[in-house]
């Protein structure tokens, strides 16, 4: 009837209004995006021109540079501030940085494995009649107390060096195990078992011989806490493995003694490494 017809017309009108509303919103959004692109392009072009001019000036190509007013005190200080901050950041890369505090100094010991920087640790020292460790973030399994007892009062620098050696070695051992787990997970059976100091590693890995795979058991002990290479290596094949594999086990054992774990693996199964 008429009512139904009217209802239908009303619904249709509502739908058209909604669609028109949508279309308008879309257009508005499109306009905004276009305007933003224009704005950014302009900004980008201005920067390019500025950079170009700067490079020409630095190469002495841009004739006589108009002598602008001498830099403000503010500009000079800003420049110096940037320069000093940049140098302080560089100290982070050297392994020992820090800042003076009201009652002493807070050192930051950074660690790295080759070119990759890893964890950094802080040590907040109070310098009074005695040197005291106020706060620190050194893990509990690092023999901090022993080192402090031996060196802290007489030679802070030596103390920090020894501590840095321990921390870098720990982080280096941990990094090798992580890299091994990450890139050679196909060869490793399960997970690498390790203690918190990462100076005892036990794991199994697969070695193939004539299209059969055999597990090798490995036990690595890092007796020198300042070293990231093991002092004891045991690589054992299972009793049912062919005799030729005992030679392989010996060769691998030798590699592990001389090379970082993940690099040793890379050398005897280069094809298997999963790149991440």
């Amino acid at each position: 009837g008429i009512l139904a017809h009217l209802e239908m017309l009303e619904r249709r009108a509502q739908q058209v209004a909604m669609e028109e509303g949508e279309a308008q919103k879309q257009e508005e959004k499109l306009e905004r995006l276009k305007a933003r692109v224009q704005e950014l392009r302009l900004q980008r072009d201005e920067l390019r021109a500025k950079l170009d001019l700067q490079q020409k000036q630095q190469l002495g190509q841009e004739g006589a540079v108009l002598e602008v007013e001498p830099p403000s005190a503010r500009a000079v200080l800003d420049w110096k501030m940037k320069s000093v901050k940049a140098m302080l950041e560089l100290f982070y890369l050297t392994g020992i940085s820090g800042k003076l505090t009201k009652r002493g100094v807070c050192f930051c010991i950074s660690t790295a494995y080759e070119g990759t920087y890893l964890d950094s640790y802080y040590l907040d020292l109070l310098i009074k009649a005695q040197v005291e460790i106020h706060h620190h973030s050194i893990p509990v399994f690092i023999p901090l107390e022993k080192m402090a007892k031996k060196y802290l009062q007489t030679d802070i620098r030596r103390f920090l060096c020894v501590l840095s050696d321990h921390l870098n070695a720990y982080v280096g051992r941990r990094y090798q195990a992580d890299q091994l787990q990450q890139h050679f997970s196909d060869q490793i059976e399960g997970t690498i078992q390790r203690n918190s100091l990462c100076n005892l590693l036990v794991f199994n890995y697969n070695v193939s011989s004539k299209s059969q795979t055999f597990p090798f058991k490995v036990r690595l002990v890092y007796g020198d806490l300042c070293c990231s290479l093991p002092t004891e290596v045991i690589v054992a094949s299972t009793p049912d493995a062919p005799a030729s594999l005992t030679q392989t086990a010996a060769a691998h054992s030798d590699l592990f003694r001389r090379m970082a774990l993940h690099k040793a693996f890379r050398s005897f199964c280069p094809a298997e490494e999963s790149m991440d």
Partner: protein, 192 residues
């Protein structure tokens, strides 16, 4: 709703924003590198700021100039302490931003200095990536020149360090070696 019409614009916006960040940083690097103020100019500027009364505080919400001066002095004290304590003195440093996209920044650094009596000149690239908790840093293309380069132990050490990008190891080892070297030199002088 066809979102693909927006996509092209949104992609361009993102790429423009990143390019702008990179260009701005390159310009900043250039300004920083080509400027040099002597110690006198810096001291003058510090005194100038000191006289600015707080009623003339800059309206853009910058820190009061005397705060800037105090912070600068504090940082300089930290820097001079570190140089004295570690024996590592940096004489000159420049950095250039090579790449900047998303969380990734690559900068090329040139650094000269000495550790006790041993001088060095380094160049390296530093890749920094921002992740949730911190910034990760990786050194590549490390090149080291040392004055005592004729010493075969030193040059072997330097090649190994360059090969692996072991900048931290370089500094730690340089620091102990230079200190030992210095100690030895002083001991010999003492007995002359």
């Amino acid at each position: 709703m066809d979102s693909s019409i927006y996509q092209a614009y949104e992609d361009e916006i993102q790429s423009l924003e990143e390019e702008i960040k990179l260009l701005a940083e390159k310009y900043e690097d250039g300004q920083q590198e080509s400027t040099f103020f002597s110690e006198e100019e810096i001291l003058e500027s510090m005194y100038a700021s000191f006289h600015i009364k707080s009623s003339q505080r800059e309206s853009k919400g910058f820190e009061c100039p005397s705060d800037l001066k105090a912070e600068l002095q504090s940082l300089e004290t930290d820097l001079s302490f570190l140089m004295k304590f570690t024996g590592i003195q940096f004489r000159s440093h420049t950095k250039k931003t090579m790449e900047k996209n998303g969380d990734r920044t690559v900068r090329k650094h040139r650094l000269s200095g000495n550790c006790h009596s041993m001088s060095f000149h380094l160049e390296f690239q530093l890749l920094e990536m921002q992740n949730k908790e911190n910034v990760s840093a990786v050194i590549t293309d490390l090149s080291i020149m040392m004055d005592s380069g004729e010493d075969s132990d030193v040059s072997k050490f330097v090649s190994r360090v360059e090969e692996h990008g072991s900048l931290l190891t370089f500094f730690r080892s340089l620091s102990s070696y230079a200190e030992w070297h210095e100690h030895r030199r002083c001991t010999f002088l003492h007995f002359k």
